[in-house]
Symmetry: C2
Subunit: 350 residues, 2 copies
């Protein structure tokens, strides 16, 4: 590791985004103390306010600037549901999804782990520790839809899920690779009995890639059945590989099962490192509790750990993960700490 | 009610289908004793065996014959996963989905209720009693996909979700109507921040129809968030209205949350009564336990109750539902009864 500077893009965003990002940065700095790696932060004030002031979501210029950084720490974007000044979904699509697609974040990595003592909504969750490798640049997220005769009784609206051998194979291979570092099991989740064309591409690709990994077993679940197992037997999963939309649904459910999306981290990974990867909590901007120091920054902090792991600082990452685990496992039910108190507590444990 | 005969199509199907259907018929007959309604059954031996013997899934002739009946009681279709003689998914698509689409089963009605004493995987489920109005003839289920350069590194596979004002409006109106018979609340589940065209059609339609039902409140959840609420606060739901694919996913999860899909019934409803509606358990053919009298026929029995309600026998339907409730609530955890013992017990309570 010869790198001496981490050139970090920070996009705090809306709602609770800035609060949780501040704690993630606090912990990240602390974890890197003595590492010899200096952190240079460039902040991008994207989100609702920027849109209201300029009518701009993410300009090509800003995107080009972000593209030059080493990695991105992302908070959350999204207007308050009642805010009619901002077209619904525009910030999510034109900032978050635009970054994922433009920077080729093909692997949306979402680990799920249930820490000891964390209350799960499940009566008997067992040991839960899996990762979802969610495809990030294809599927029904490509914006390939359209509408005709809008607003008339003859309206027709379509959404097209686009899946390519190139796009599917790289995430499937990534999933198998990760499985070799874990418990050697990959579960493909899809709905190939109905979505025949996309489903068979996914199935065939898994079969083909599996042949390269004889030590990894693999199975298949329809997405509907997968949600059942997530609540009846979540410990059966090691690595789940799935498409963009199914991954979106499964990881929110997985977050809930493992104690709430306040703990769920994610990485949007450019696996070829042709552009910076982006790390963000799975939760959104939660406008209802924004600015009140009520948000749990743990998901953001764990996202910073994924970032450090990705940029070649696995030890600092592991130390953050251990500190978070210790913090989470020492919580007392019903306790209310401020956002920054949680960040302080984790930092203190490093 | 002047009808004196119920002209019933029975499609037992594969795996546990025949076993659970037999119990549903046993209970249906018992519930109609003294009603003056005579049941005429026509059985259609569709499924894996028929396909292996004839190469036929569901011929136009058979479909036309079924179309002439008053209602359909359906078990389950689907080959064993390891059976390579039968192309994967063909029975599901060419029998089950073909029936739903050809007979215009636009409302796929799926009630979820947690009975007292039934073990839920949730630690604290609360009172769960909602219905999902799943659209049944559009969405990504239309078979409007395709693939190019299959088997090459340049393969591209697409799936098209088709949504029409006509198709969306009729199920949304059905959902609001049902809400007036329940707790006056409709939740639209979609993903309109990403699936913009379809999502906005659904949202606009809900707003428009809601104006006709001033006594019904309505809200909206993204599908990912909806899965969270299904495990953290399922009692918040009264009527959920959603598209074909999201409904598929949510109802399996809902079944799991309310004690397993062995209890989950469904009706595929032709709301204009231009063709027979079809009633089936949400579960599949479960080849692993087929023919062993291990399957719980409760979902099939409750589906028969939905059938009776639909054909104008609400009292017989309510008596079955009460008998099932009493049976389910008197179960002792871990007890193992045969499929037919459960049917006998429910019938005896009528
Ligand atoms: C905000 C939204 C576009 C996003 C998604 O659907 O990917 C979010 O739900 C997530 O999971 O990161
Ligand atoms: C068997 C399959 C085609 C079907 C569906 O996806 O609708 C099933 O999962 C269901 O929910 O009835």
């Amino acid at each position: 590791m010869t790198q001496t500077q981490l050139d970090l893009a920070v996009i705090p965003g809306d709602g609770i985004g800035p609060e949780v990002t501040a704690e993630a940065l606090k912990v990240l700095h602390k974890a890197l103390e003595g590492s010899g790696l200096e952190v240079k932060e460039t902040r991008y004030s994207l989100g609702a306010e920027h849109w209201l002031a300029t009518g701009e979501t993410l300009s090509e210029e800003t995107l080009a600037d972000i593209r030059g950084r080493d990695a991105i720490l992302f908070g959350a974007v999204g207007a308050a549901p009642g805010d009619t000044r901002i077209p619904s979904g525009i910030l999510e699509r034109e900032i978050l999804l635009k970054l994922r697609f433009s920077l080729d974040h093909c692997v949306n990595l979402r680990p799920s782990r249930l820490y000891a003592g964390v209350p799960s909504p499940l009566a008997d969750p067992g040991q839960v520790d899996f990762v979802v490798v969610r495809e990030g640049t294809e599927g029904p997220y490509t914006g390939n839809g359209g509408a005709l005769r809008v607003g008339t009784p003859q309206e027709i609206a379509t959404e097209v899920s686009v899946n390519t051998a190139f796009g599917v194979e790289r995430v499937v291979r990534d999933a198998f690779r990760r499985a070799t570092q874990r418990r050697n099991k990959v579960t493909l989740v899809h709905k190939h009995n109905v979505l025949v064309y996309a489903g068979h591409l996914w199935k065939r690709t898994v079969e083909a890639v599996a042949a390269e990994f004889p030590g990894v077993e693999h199975d298949y679940l329809h997405v509907d059945a997968a949600t059942i197992f997530l609540v009846t037997d979540p410990s059966r999963f090691d690595v789940i590989v799935t498409d963009n939309l199914f991954g979106d649904i499964l990881t929110d459910l997985a977050g809930a099962v493992t104690g709430g999306i306040g703990l769920a981290a994610s990485g949007n990974i450019n696996i070829d490192r042709t552009a910076p990867s982006m790390f963000e909590p799975v939760h959104g901007s939660a406008p209802d509790i924004a600015g009140q120091q009520k948000a749990d920054p743990t998901a953001a902090i764990l996202s910073a750990a994924l970032l450090l792991d990705h940029i070649g600082q696995p030890e600092a990452a592991a130390r953050i993960q251990a500190a978070v685990r210790a913090d989470v496992e020492s919580r007392t039910p019903g306790e209310a700490r401020t956002t920054s108190a949680v960040g302080d507590a984790v930092a203190a444990r490093l």
